[in-house]
Symmetry: C2
Subunit: 423 residues, 2 copies
């Protein structure tokens, strides 16, 4: 069985590679036509998609999934419309393939260009939401990559129906259906076969919890990109505008607690702690947030808080909880963030230019905000049109990943019989 599953995954990867070779030659016109065809077909065939989704929801309910999980799994006419609209947005974005990044004439007359090219075969491993299936397929297609999609077993019927629609749309415009393939999802081993298909797969992006990501990183032999773990801090500096600080802390924490750009820790400079701590403690309490405070913060808060443990500084709550601490200096805040942060998004609230410059330079993260909510770290907000995840690693892509981040480059050099001197 295991050898069979391995062969099934590898066979899909080989078909994807063949499809990717065709996709390299596809013009933007052809790719955009496929995206528009996909969007139209999703709307037309919503009934069959919703039927499959209902089967997943019933099985999920029987298996005891929480309401929150069922909500992430659920599709509706409106949600299908949303993902179709997303494909049209991607069709409207510029084609990253062929973009010339650097170039010029060398002293010997060689004409050199560094151009963006597709990566080839891109694998995605993700959890419940079936909309990720369509988003990932669309971004992969536009950037010229064949997609191997390994979704959650709980969404198998929905994903199967969605991928059938996407594949038909590809064929309708004359592109290979194997540009989009769904991998077996009932056995965890299929993830392992995907992330070790070296030479067949060019990149795997795990999108999910810390457990999935660390499994992938530990076992992968194909390149991977870590996404989405966000132990995000807001630091309120001695020179902060306290109205801005309150608004930014509340927005960063409570806008949507389940997303990776939401704040999980609050650091307050000692010089303003007397005034700001009771104010923000009350505001957070009023917003339903539980504050896990260090002794100094707790002592000043004047509102009910719980005592923070060492673990709180490293916890990504993804809930109405926040760790809170008073720090003596800017550098203490920076050191705390660099020790406990996950390199996602960090914010400073300050009116002091020197403090802001030191914070943005020394804090080691994908995004650093000055006087702005951490909630802005998002591909759509950053003007990328769409995102396939938020990279928290330093190589290849850092922060929101759009189309450009799904490409590699190639040096193309034209000469007229140039040879290199032997010296």
């Amino acid at each position: 069985m295991t050898a069979e599953l391995r062969e099934e995954v590898h066979a899909a990867a080989r078909r994807a590679r063949v499809a990717a070779e065709d996709l390299v030659l596809a013009t933007r016109e052809r790719k955009d036509a496929a995206l528009r065809e996909m969007a139209a077909a999703l709307r037309e065939r919503s009934e069959e998609i919703l039927k499959a989704n209902t089967a997943d929801l019933e099985a999920g309910r029987a298996a005891g999934l929480t309401e929150n999980m069922l909500d992430r799994l659920a599709l509706s006419e409106q949600r299908i419309d949303g993902v179709a609209e997303g494909l049209l947005t991607v069709a409207g974005l510029a084609d990253p393939v062929g973009e010339v990044l650097r170039g010029g004439l060398l002293p010997n007359g060689l004409e050199m260009r560094q151009v963006r090219v597709p990566l080839g075969v891109v694998g995605m491993v993700y959890e419940a939401r079936p909309n990720v299936t369509v988003d990932a397929a669309g971004l992969a297609l536009k950037s010229g990559n064949a997609a191997l999609l390994r979704g959650s077993s709980s969404a198998e019927n929905s994903n199967t129906a969605l991928v059938a629609v996407l594949r038909d749309a590809l064929e309708a415009v004359g592109l290979p259906a194997d540009c989009v393939q769904l991998l077996p999802c009932q056995d965890r081993a299929s993830v392992n076969y995907l992330i070790t298909a070296r030479g067949l797969v060019d990149l795997v992006i795990p999108r999910g919890g810390a457990g999935l990501i660390s499994t992938v990183v530990a076992n992968a032999t194909v390149p991977t990109i870590e996404t989405g773990v966000g132990n995000v801090h807001v630091y309120v500096d001695a020179a902060a505008d306290l109205d801005d600080a309150e608004a930014i802390v509340l927005n960063s924490k409570t806008r949507r607690t389940s997303v990776c750009n939401s704040a999980e820790s609050l650091l307050v400079h000692a010089d303003i702690a007397d005034v700001f701590v009771p104010r923000i403690a009350e505001a957070l309490h009023a917003a339903g947030v539980t504050v896990h405070a260090d002794p100094v913060f707790a002592g000043l808060s004047g509102t009910e808080v719980v005592a923070a443990t060492d673990e709180d500084w490293d916890t990504e709550y993804l809930s109405l909880d926040i760790a809170a601490k008073v720090v003596g200096t800017l550098d203490e805040a920076i050191a705390h963030i660099n020790e406990h942060g996950t390199g996602h998004t960090e914010a400073i609230v300050t009116s002091d230019v020197k403090a802001a410059r030191r914070f943005t330079t020394r804090v080691d993260a994908a995004a650093v905000m000055v006087n702005a909510s951490t909630g802005f770290t998002d591909g759509a907000e950053f003007g990328m049109g769409a995102e396939i995840g938020i990279s928290t690693q330093k190589l290849h892509a850092r922060g929101p990943m759009g189309l450009a981040e799904l490409t590699s480059t190639k040096w193309v050099v034209w000469g007229e019989g140039h040879v290199r001197p032997t010296s």
Copy 2:
């Protein structure tokens, strides 16, 4: 002992991380001053370096190293002068850190910039040549990274002497000596501790043979970049200028056989095989090259060749040998290259624009040459000033790696109290 070695490597990585935090704040002026100080000190202290190198050479001779290996290990006043000059070249290059890659105002007034930042701690694993120690340290320093150098045990005395000079130079300009550290090299396990020091090390670049690289890829949990394996092809198209073709084949094969950009396979279109095969076979023979030919090539060659085996198509000879084959079509050449190539450099010789465009688009490699020798794939030739290796992978960096390829990016976002709407 093993636990001790592990702790020794990790302790070095922790010191490197502290040093890297200082380096983030170092101005270009300071970094360039360090590079110039290093260059001067290498020249001044050449006697102690050469004494250490003599000890390595004597030990190497006693251990039976080949003359070729001893030559790679050997330093001289002239070679020391060369690496010192290399540091001055790096000092003259623009600082990649702080470069703004993208940026602008978002619709809501947020001011956003994507800037280049150092990676942090960069490890290098390399073989005999001690000049790599200085080159790598210089490039790492200029790009704001602390370097952990794991050289060959056969060069231990030389590397120790070189690193002592470099560290003194760093201190002389007020930068932490721990920006450059030499790791223990007598035990292979130190490589494993380096490539699994997740969270302490940001990137490891293996520079060496295919064995080293595949060990690193299989076992690393820190990000790595594969370098330098080059099964490089020259394809002579039906529409080739045969004078150009002969010159390019000879230059690609014989300029320097031991380097990764030298050609290892020759593909000739059937339409010109009658004329070109005997001509190039004779020219290669005259240049001392052994041709491993397929039956068609062999039948046309008119000069002594040896019969190619299946292995020849995948062999990186790094010697005066070349595999040679006649192909029926351009697409057969492309398919052969994509199957057997290592994604380093591939060349076409043709006067046909359509053939050149198809080749450059479909061939999957870091560099694709049209009517030019494969020998041009090189950081210095590409105008990067220096290179730390040639990446044959698709993520992060592809082709010659200069200063820019040793950086990551960071999104820096300035607002004035901006919060994100909850919708």
